[in-house]
Symmetry: C2
Subunit: 381 residues, 2 copies
Amino acid sequence: MSGFGIDHLPYGVFSVDGGERRVGVRFENTVVDLHAATGRPEFLAPSLNAFLALGPEVWRQTREEVAGLVETGVASSPLAEVALHLPIEVADYVDFYASEHHAANVGRIFRPDQQPLLPNWKHLPVGYHGRAGTVVVSGTDVVRPSGQRASTGSTTAGPPAPTYGPSRRLDIEAELGFVVGAPSELGSRVPYDAFAEHVFGVVGLNDWSARDIQAWEYVPLGPFLGKSFATSISHWVTPLAALDAAWCALPDQDPTPLPYLGPGRVRGLDIDVEVVLNGEVVSRPPYRTMYWSPQQMLAHLTVNGASLRTGDLFGSGTISGPEAGERGSFLELSWGGQEPFGDGRTFLEDGDEVALRYSAPGTGGGRISLGDVTGRIAPAR
Amino acid sequence: MSGFGIDHLPYGVFSVDGGERRVGVRFENTVVDLHAATGRPEFLAPSLNAFLALGPEVWRQTREEVAGLVETGVASSPLAEVALHLPIEVADYVDFYASEHHAANVGRIFRPDQQPLLPNWKHLPVGYHGRAGTVVVSGTDVVRPSGQRASTGSTTAGPPAPTYGPSRRLDIEAELGFVVGAPSELGSRVPYDAFAEHVFGVVGLNDWSARDIQAWEYVPLGPFLGKSFATSISHWVTPLAALDAAWCALPDQDPTPLPYLGPGRVRGLDIDVEVVLNGEVVSRPPYRTMYWSPQQMLAHLTVNGASLRTGDLFGSGTISGPEAGERGSFLELSWGGQEPFGDGRTFLEDGDEVALRYSAPGTGGGRISLGDVTGRIAPAR
């Protein structure tokens, strides 16, 4: 099983021999050129955005059409012979903080003498805007960022004069990303139930983080340079339709959220994640343990009337399960750098290669593999 | 004096009778159609971005060419006969917090028992990413946002259960915006001295803010829905070249910032701002009192290797001077809602109209008027 069978059919952008970028669908280890196969102009494009903007009825029809093409046999290129590119032109990028285990771990590490969760955490999915222009595709090297650093282990109340230099606490955040296809109107909110009318699908997402830069800068306006140097997403966008069998109940929410957050109907995706460092699996975060659901994140994002655009991307935040081997960041795996894990590891070193792998129940009874997300750390310039 | 003479010549996007959007230059109370006047294809476009991407040498040559056209006489449309549109396609939007008086006022209002400035504030220009997709052009109505609200006067440590509804503490932030024209490479920083190689010009900017939503949500990841519903910018982008006579010394910086922030060479713009509420001037914030300079904000934004794109927009943060009549937000003018100002005002009411007006020394010895920023509050939906 490749995980890329007829029940998956994710979308991406590819080129052959340096030619024009175009939209393709992955089937097994081949790529189907959708423009060549259908003649539709939205597929001769450097991103999925023109197709995504057409909305859910076109997405549904296209998925049927592509499945038919694949079943009857269609010309395709071997994956090894194409170059893959960033699949979407990212409009706005928002990152949430939807795992209770992650948020509580971070609270325990940074504020050991206080309640692990802040007062607002169980009332709303906390989120913030990240930098859309530095979202890069899987396989792109990540240059170690430099900046103003807090001393190791310190928080905002830390040293009065920061040091400048390459980050010493470079980290990953294993996340799931959601890709918005259909826009919404400024001044109106997107109800909880309208999720599938706007969200096209999901990507793997690694929200690279420089913890020492972040710790010094983030009060009071949130993370900025500690995150904005790079965010990696997978080559492949898995349509929601391929995840029909993956929906599951999430943990109960207490206190009951406000009505716009659809209380009592909280469902998530039963996606297994693997964090792979230099070829070794170091963690297995389970997405089904998240507190806030994808629908709740979208309803919250727009409750103030903020509009959606085609290409908007929102991340789940770090996925961490309740067990030590289920944590989605090195910050947690090494407990703030105090408890080395694996072969004595705390944070990322130059030359390290990280891969995030994702799998989910498919509609055909087996499992599908979402697009993985890889990146190698290049030394600071 | 109109403030829009030969020494100004700001750029915008306009259409006539519902026709195609195109790039124009304002001269007095007329708009020059640059595509008609020059035949250049980058001016037959719905935004300035294609022109901005051409870089500083083309910007300089074009300004000379346009000045020549205007002096020798060129066909133009009366301002009253054109529709004006959002001048740029915003790539990433970042907002800073560069006024010491504003940051200290906010600190005194929200944390009266602590030092007004946080430990990092004088070491780096604090900033965060806002929502690019909800940047709207001057004249666009702003729908009062709804969301989870803190109780009046409370901060994050406030009530355990928030209320839901329209914001009761809707505010403005009078700012200056900087428009990036020429991009930079991912993984490299833009030095302090390279400001004019990347930044094309400035816009007026109103960062509408819902203080009760913001107060409840902003710890630990910063402002989100309290800001993301709308940010208004002026119709006109004033090129840096029109501000050559406006550069001035900013207040001394102590402690001395790190070398990448160009210490000892801190210059700002001598721009006067007026905050006008329903036709009455309620405040006159002076931009020359800012702590962090435009060059420092850009150097900081990219010090971690984050790349710039054409259309990136960064705001100064609220401009507040040392005097009570120089504060750039209603939060400060009403001291957290405790001291009504003007005709008994605290925050914005439905139907209120706000205009921000900007003027600066021009190169011709007089003053130029930057594009103003207006908006009316529409009731919550």
